[in-house]
Amino acid sequence: MQKTVKRQGFFKKYGEWYLMLAIPVIGSIMFNIYPLIVNAFQSFKNTAGSWVGLVNYNILFTDVLWPKAIINTLYMGVIGVGLSIPIAFLLAYMLNRVPFAKNAFKTIYLFPMIVSIVAVSMVFKFIFNADANSPMNLFLQMIGLPKSDWFSGVSTSRETVMIMTLWKSVGHAVILFFAGLQTMPVELLEAADIDGANEWKKLWYITVPNMKNTLIFVFITNSIGALKRFADVYAIASEYGQPGDTLVTIMIYIYRKSFSTLFYKDLGVASAASIILFLFIIVITVIEMRVTGESESLISNSRKRGAR
């Protein structure tokens, strides 16, 4: 008797809070926890649904396309992050040091972010056409270089996709770096001015160390994004990943194995590939938490708040 009263009290006291959380809690179980578990189980099953142990992983790692997918993804990730962070940082640094028109530049740099990757790819396919008369090849001719095959060349396709992605996403990093630079105390640079430090020394010894956190944040989000690379390569090469499989990334591989209408589908192998991708991302996330320190990580932040 007393217990029911107590229980009624519990629901009266807290019930509304739980009700208000019902949708996201159910949603998270349905669209996050459950799919993850299904995926993990699926990776140990064959297409008929019976348990086959590590066979799918075995198939995955003997598939010649899989190592290519990993290499392509990592290679494009390294080029992409290696290009975009220094370029974006320099642009943001210059923006911060000039007196006029900062907002106009920021707006222009951010604009490609709202242009969908499909439209972007259409334009870049033209500009970087393998044809000798395409704009970029004419440009190469002008400065006396031989023509390139760009998107259609086995040795240049990945780099060309990265140029396109750089064009589209550089503004995003510029905005973040600029916001970080704004929080940097002006006195530091002024003191360096008085000491007669040149621009390069100010950049390297004062600005970069002060921007460590923003740099790490952009680096990590770009790296995770690079592991999941799909839209830009899909927009250029669809699911075929041509030329020479250079544009098959891990996500394109998974997509081909789960949704393709043209290639051999195998859900078990697709799930195994998803699990491997998940492990990759977990590793990066753990490194992120180590580097940025416990105090700044998501979970500890909320834990600290919740303990009040």
């Binding site: 006291k13 509304e16 009700l19 208000m20 959380l21 949708i23 996201p24 949603g27 998270s28 179980i29 669209f31 996050n32 459950y34 799919p35 993850l36 299904v38 995926n39 320099l90 642009l91 210059m94 923006l95 040091r97 000039v98 007196p99 006029f100 707006t107 951010l110 604009f111 972010m113 709202i114 242009v115 969908s116 990757i117 499909v118 439209a119 972007v120 259409m122 500009i127 395409s134 704009p135 004419l138 064009w167 905005i175 973040l176 799909f230 839209a231 927009a235 998974i254 949704f259 697709a270 998803s274 991708l277 998940f278 991302i281 977990i282 998501l298 979970i299 909320s302 708040r305 919740g306």
Partner: protein, 297 residues
């Protein structure tokens, strides 16, 4: 000494803008040249696309060398693309999915963010972790199981199916709103409770109106991500009349018979038109939103 047009200084304890003369330094000229160069590189491809969508193009290839101003101005490309493809339907589908995403996502997120920020109840921490965990597990690796769930619910090729998985998890937005709510006073909840208002009513009538800034910011980012999303809408809305503008466009540009050059340009222009209009009117706001959330599509 200062190179800043205005610096903040304290006068009688108040922040006052002090205008100082800008001392021109040689490095600024170099910086401006590089900044302008970067801006030109950013603008040229979009300019070319818009210019060619109005050009009379009679072949499947674009004119070489590239033209940056239509010589024979025409609306023909636009009428071709509207007659021969379902671009108008695609745009409508995208608009519906985006509107749905914004409404569901932000309503659910603002309520959950409020509860996690102000609520006191057992199990709050584990529930928050459960919800935030979907940020750690990228959507991409759960693609197939989620598709199977949506299919089992009979929601494939419905607008609801396109929005549901993203809106019901909404972890990022919940996190951002919780962070914002943490800075709102707790006393409002206490006094509302004393007055006998229910928690839901307190949320709806007292806290929700105070969340204006963060909701506006997240609206901007949600609109951008959901309008430009390709992978999930392409999978779940696979019937031609249900395709969003991104997957419709990717079908057009990837089609093996080679689309008409002017048509693809016109279709691309149409696909970026809505966001461009928003961008032009809210540019300052969008820059701020990106800086505040760090969101990346």
């Amino acid at each position: 000494m200062s190179k800043h047009t205005h610096t903040l200084s304290l006068v009688n304890g108040q922040k006052v803008k002090v205008h100082e003369r800008v001392h021109f330094r040689p490095y600024m000229l170099v910086f401006y040249i590089l900044l302008v160069l970067a801006a030109v590189i950013v603008i040229i491809p979009v300019w070319w696309m818009v210019a060619n969508s109005f050009e009379t193009i009679k072949s499947y290839a674009f004119p070489n060398p590239p033209k940056f101003w239509p010589e024979n101005f025409t609306w023909n490309n636009y009428s071709l693309v509207m007659m021969n493809t379902n671009i108008v339907g695609n745009l409508k589908n995208s608009a519906i999915v985006t509107a749905q995403d914004v409404l569901f996502n932000l309503f659910i997120a603002s309520m959950a963010g409020f509860v996690f920020s102000k609520g006191r109840f057992p199990g709050k921490q584990p529930l928050l972790l459960l919800i935030l965990s979907s940020m750690m597990v990228p959507f991409e690796i759960k693609l197939m199981p989620i598709y199977q769930i949506i299919q089992a619910m009979g929601l494939n090729n419905t607008y609801l199916g396109a929005s549901l998985p993203g809106c019901l998890t909404a972890a990022f937005n919940i996190f951002m709103i919780k962070k914002f709510c943490d800075d709102l006073p707790d006393e409002l909840l206490e006094s509302a409770t004393v007055d006998g208002a229910s928690k839901f009513r307190t949320f709806l009538q007292i806290y929700l109106p105070l969340m204006g800034p963060i909701i506006a910011t997240l609206t901007v980012t949600t609109v951008m991500t959901s309008w430009n999303d390709l992978l999930w809408p392409m999978i779940v809305l696979s019937r031609d009349e249900m395709r969003t503008v991104q997957s419709g466009l990717s079908q057009l540009t990837n089609s093996s018979f080679g689309p008409h050059a002017g048509m693809t340009c016109a279709a691309s222009c149409l696909s970026i038109l809505p966001l461009t209009v928003i961008f032009i009117f809210m540019q300052k706001y969008i820059v701020q939103s990106v800086a505040a959330t760090g969101i990346k599509q």
